[in-house]
């Protein structure tokens, strides 16, 4: 159920993508956008932002920290909206979801 994040469609999404790059995976120390963890950002409901995302490992104990990070940066950037995070496991994350920048930061061949 992957929803591609399309920054050009909505300037709000573009700003959200920018601030979400501040949220890092604590183990890999790569931001969640370049890891490909964010599947969708939805501004359609008034007063709300819904982020659909996954984690690199199901039931990762650090998942709550990442989820809180997403809510915190979005709340600061969009004070008039309530940020909500929906964690999904389908499609499962894989290394193919990394961006070029993510691959570079992880020194992938």
């Amino acid at each position: 159920m992957k929803q591609p994040v399309n920054a050009q469609a909505d300037p709000g999404v573009e700003q959200a993508l920018k601030v979400l790059k501040q949220v890092m995976d604590p183990e890999l120390f790569v931001n969640i956008i370049d890891l490909g963890l964010v599947y969708g950002i939805d501004f359609s409901e008034p007063g709300k932002i819904t982020v659909t995302m996954t984690l690199s490992t199901p039931h990762c104990p650090l998942g709550e920290a990442i989820k809180n990070g997403v809510c915190n940066v979005l709340s600061a950037a969009f004070p008039n909206r309530v940020a909500e995070v929906t964690i999904v496991w389908e499609p499962a994350w894989s290394v193919e979801m990394l961006t070029e920048e993510g691959r570079r930061q992880l020194n992938f061949s």
Partner: protein, 425 residues
């Protein structure tokens, strides 16, 4: 779509005492080894060595593994730990058991002290096993969970044999040789409890740490079957045909199970996306090499005439395989556990340190190379029968333990760091 809350980790008070106490017992193991250095050139059935082995197996290995397992069970089973109270009870009982058994063996006080220690450990194992069984109970079962359940069953078998041996020393009732049952007790503990637990956890964590594509799981089912078949045959064969030398065949079946597991891990290693493993993963790779070294030594220990091979075999398993694994994986798990509690609500609001900044990275490097030197010197000294080299090696061992305890304490006592101007953002 399967939406689920990601946080199912148990509270810090459940997990941290195991890491702290385990680190202190590692220091105790190292000091006892140094004090009993002379015993490393003698027979393995020595009070001092029995004390060291129980300190290593219970106070060090089982203590850390219980703590790590309580943290990882929710990850492996995708549900919360069944009971934090049972986990805390297992901590108190295991600590009490190890604290009784170590002096009981060191001074060889067969009787109340030893039996009480064995009973505490037995109860601790029951608490742990119940927690595993009830946490795993529902839902779809994975290969990881089969290993966790089988290892818990073997733990119960090990401690039952252990208590029986402790009673037998004071009130002899066994019709079989005490040493024969002791060998069974040791191998059920090593190949049942430790091996199967480590197999189950490693096949979950190592692909995660190396960012590897999954390797073929048929090797894991083969590993589960061979490891358990070999052990069951060892128990049944030893009961029915006590004088038989077929235990070599049973050991070979177990070794085939180890081979399947290591083959799977090799596939994970080849498929890894993180090309440069960190020093903590090197500790893990080294531990696999020590396990292979132990398997190579096993025929010499079983069929050879020199008892030094039995001791070298034990050193490869306890101080090589298990210790190297724990020394590395402690810093792959503990800093994340503490970081998660201290910083999970602060991410995205302020600059927070990384989990790996909670320990001194340089100290881990010193720990790694000191450990390799200590192991090399210890095995060389034992093979050469040199008390001098053994003593130098064991002084290094104490150094390794001090470095490890320092870093574990640094993580355990970490206080939340927030720069004042950032916190008000």
């Amino acid at each position: 779509m399967n939406e689920i809350t990601p946080n199912k980790a148990p509270s810090l008070k459940v997990v941290l005492p195991f890491y702290g106490t385990g680190a202190l017992f590692f220091l105790v193991v190292s000091v006892l080894l140094l004090l009993g250095a002379g015993d490393l050139t003698g027979h393995y059935f020595s009070p001092h060595l029995l004390a060291v082995v129980h300190a290593a197996a219970l106070g060090w290995g089982t203590m850390i593994i219980f703590g790590a397992a309580y943290e990882l069970l929710p990850v492996v089973c995708a549900r919360s730990l069944y009971s934090e109270r049972l986990a805390l009870a297992s901590y108190a009982l295991l600590t009490a058991g190890a604290a009784h058994l170590i002096p009981a063996f060191w001074y060889f006080r067969a009787g109340t002290l030893m039996i009480a220690g064995g009973s505490f450990v037995f109860l601790a194992a029951c608490c742990y096993a119940l927690n595993v069984f009830f946490t795993v109970a529902d839902g779809r079962h994975s290969i990881h969970q089969y290993f966790l359940v089988s290892s818990a069953c073997w733990l119960l078998t090990t401690v039952t044999l252990g208590v029986a041996l402790a009673v037998n020393l004071r009130y002899p009732f066994m019709t079989r040789s005490h040493l024969d049952i002791m060998k069974l007790h040791a191998h059920v503990g090593l190949a049942g409890w430790f091996l199967q637990l480590v197999t189950g956890v490693s096949i979950k964590l190592i692909p995660m740490f190396l960012l590897s594509k999954p390797a073929e799981t048929k090797w894991l089912y083969a590993a589960l079957a061979f490891q358990n078949l070999g052990l069951l045959l060892l128990l049944a064969g030893d009961y029915l045909y006590p004088a038989s030398s077929a235990d070599g065949v049973y050991a070979a079946i177990c070794a085939a199970g180890i081979g399947c597991w290591l083959w799977y891990l090799n596939g994970v290693r080849k498929n890894r996306m993180r090309r440069r493993p960190d020093i903590l993963m090197k500790h893990t790779f080294v531990s696999c090499l020590f396990l292979i070294a132990a398997l190579i030594t096993l025929p010499l220990a079983r069929y050879g005439t020199e008892t030094k091979w039995v001791l070298v075999y034990g050193v490869f398993l306890f101080l090589g395989w298990l210790t190297s694994l724990i020394l590395g994986q402690t810093f792959k798990t503990l800093p994340f556990i503490v970081w998660n509690e201290r910083y999970k609500n602060l991410t995205g609001t302020t600059a927070v340190p990384l989990p790996r900044q909670l320990y001194a990275a340089k100290v881990v490097v010193y720990q790694y190379y000191s450990y390799l030197a200590a192991m090399f010197l210890l095995v060389a000294g034992m093979l050469a029968g040199s008390r001098f080299i053994i003593t130098i090696a064991l002084i290094l061992w104490v150094g390794v333990a001090v470095l490890y305890v320092f870093n574990v304490a640094k993580v355990l006592f970490h206080q939340t760091i927030i720069s004042p101007h950032e916190a008000t953002r």
